[in-house]
């Protein structure tokens, strides 16, 4: 009976319900997209790091890996430490390529080549580059690339599930070092499972006073850029949430104002304020559930479209996992309950007669 009444009330107030529904869909989709994309950026870069080594060596006291410079002469010294399986080096940089304003450039030691799965051609030699499948589609000249006033021959095309890699250019460490004027951004160290990582990290630290050594997990968890992206995303989502709350609250206030006589009659007939409030809040919740499902579908479609926009080179992508969906659903419910509760609570504080008179 309660739900049937709620559905009839929603149908009777369909214009205002539609406005609330649209506000909710826009707000929820914004929260979904902001969170999914920022989460996507973080997971793409952390996946690169986590799949490359157990320990990461960077320059000490740098705010970003882009600014890090580690001497590759440390590599043979690290390799000698007991328990170390492999040491590799990477330079992470960015440069314009053709009409694309920014493209990720990875200068890698040869032992990292196998992580880039070849689709065409072969791994690059000096003066050559390997390009990701998504950037390859966007290139007009598929034989030669110009990076920082230098020409490179395309040696092949690779595919990676990580958007940052799939939309990037891979070259050998020496060529990248000449472009970005550094030895390496980071060193990745793979160790034997049986070995104590802490002991190895301690030994690496003692090799150079200018380096910072962290386990990959620790590095990812404390990487400043990730914290900045997460905080910014949370802040923007919070602003979207507040804007949504204000929109729903405003429309709900108008709805409640126009239905004051209805609530006055209900009160006069002896229906408790709690039950009347429940009716209105349930109207909000039902609208919220429909809006959430719609926003979820809209966001999935939008993310899929964004992922396939060539201009974004695969750098902008995101997925909505269960945790994000549950969090946004809770936020939606809080938004609809608060947005409905406040206006109806304020309205029901007055006498039924006043409500009936004001409703006319």
């Amino acid at each position: 009976m309660l739900l049937a009444t709620v559905l009839k009330a929603i149908r009777a107030n369909r214009v205002k319900t539609a406005l609330i529904y649209i506000s909710l869909v826009v707000t929820i989709s914004a929260i979904f997209l902001i969170s999914a994309i920022s989460h996507g950026v973080i997971s793409m870069y952390s996946n690169i790091l986590q799949s490359s080594g157990d320990i990461i060596v960077t320059q000490k006291n740098i705010s970003d890996t882009f600014f890090s410079n580690v001497d590759t002469q440390l590599m043979p010294k690290i390799e000698k430490i007991a328990g170390v399986k492999r040491v590799s080096a990477i330079i992470v940089g960015a440069s314009p390529v053709e009409v694309l304003p920014i493209v990720a450039i990875y200068g890698v030691s040869k032992n990292l080549y196998p992580r880039y799965k070849l689709q065409l051609g072969e791994y690059p030699k000096k003066g050559e580059v390997l390009v990701g499948a998504s950037i390859y589609k966007a290139l007009t000249n598929k034989k030669e690339l110009h990076i920082a006033n230098k020409s490179f021959v395309l040696s092949g095309v690779f595919h990676s599930e990580i958007g940052f890699e799939n939309g990037g250019v891979v070259m050998n460490l020496e060529d990248a070092g000449a472009i970005f004027n550094k030895s390496a951004s980071m060193l990745y160290v793979n160790i034997n499972l049986a070995q104590n990582a802490q002991t190895i990290m301690k030994e690496i630290t003692q090799l150079d006073t200018n380096i910072a050594v962290k386990s990959t997990k620790d590095f990812v968890n404390h990487y400043n850029q990730f914290k900045i992206i997460s905080s910014s995303s949370l802040l923007v989502s919070l602003i979207a949430f507040i804007m949504g709350l204000i929109a729903i609250g405003s429309i709900m206030s108008i709805t409640v104002l126009q239905r004051k006589d209805e609530f006055g009659i209900m009160k006069a007939l002896g229906i408790s304020s709690v039950k009347i409030t429940s009716l209105i809040v349930l109207e909000g919740i039902v609208t919220g559930v429909f809006a959430f499902v719609s926003a979820y579908i809209v966001s999935i479609i939008a993310l899929e479209l964004i992922k396939n926009i060539a201009k974004f080179q695969g750098y902008v992508s995101g997925t909505i996992d269960a945790q994000l969906a549950v969090s946004v659903f809770i936020a939606t419910m809080v938004m609809t309950v608060l947005g409905s509760l406040i206006p109806v609570y304020t309205a029901l504080k007055v006498d039924p007669v006043t409500l009936i008179q004001r409703g006319n």
Binding site: D261, A268, G270, S273, I356
Partner: protein, 212 residues
């Protein structure tokens, strides 16, 4: 004694609309309060029926001082029926849903009989906007009777109807009240209809007096 009002005064802003009104209504009595528009009839009815709190004075209804009633919604639902001039049915609910909107479970089984007695059983699934003014007021009477109240307050129940429908609705209200031993307090400006009541009071500029 069903209702006793003592020295009721009510002020809206700076206007004193009721001046120390005293009133006694006995159980089963049909009382009419007549007066011109703005004389204070509706305010008095609202205060007597617990819908409005008086600025001063007290009301005792069915042995309860209204200011001391803790669960006022429950009290109204179980003891008081309302009929308003503009029927105030909820447009998006059917006739049956309007009648049973605030009904207690135990009274639900009697609704079909009530609809039959009021001649509106065929309107059960219609919406208020699909029926005539007279039919709407019958539905409003059914809603007022649905919880078997002890008192019904009716504010200009025929104010929006033509004379034929007015007579019918008034006669029906009186008949149902008598049959179920319900006390009725009606506010009306229609003196002819008021003459059907057991007792008539006249409101004039916030003062009440016996109608002669």
């Amino acid at each position: 004694m069903m209702i006793e009002a003592k020295a009721l005064t009510h002020i809206y802003g700076s206007d004193e609309v009721l001046h120390a009104v005293n009133l006694l209504v006995q159980e089963g009595e049909f009382v009419a309060i007549v007066g011109e528009s703005g004389s204070g009839k509706t305010t008095l009815l609202s205060i007597l029926s617990t819908l409005l709190t008086p600025t001063q004075g007290s009301v005792e209804i069915i042995g309860n001082k209204t200011k001391r009633i803790k669960k006022i919604d429950d009290f109204r639902r179980k003891n008081i029926g309302f009929i308003f001039q503009f029927h105030y049915l909820i447009n998006y609910l059917t006739v049956y849903e309007n009648i049973t909107l605030a009904i207690d479970k135990e009274n639900k089984t009697a609704v079909p009989m009530l609809l039959k007695e009021l001649g509106i059983e065929a309107l059960r699934e219609r919406y208020p906007y699909e029926i005539s003014g007279g039919q709407r007021q019958r539905v409003a009477i059914a809603r007022a009777l649905a919880n078997h109240p002890k008192v019904i307050f009716a504010d200009e129940p025929t104010g929006n109807l033509d004379s034929k429908n007015s007579n019918n609705v008034f006669a029906l209200l009186k008949e149902m009240a008598k049959k179920n031993n319900i006390t009725v307090v009606v506010a009306t400006h229609d003196l002819q209809q008021a003459k059907n009541a057991d007792t008539i009071y006249e409101m004039n500029d916030g003062h009440i007096s016996n109608y002669n």
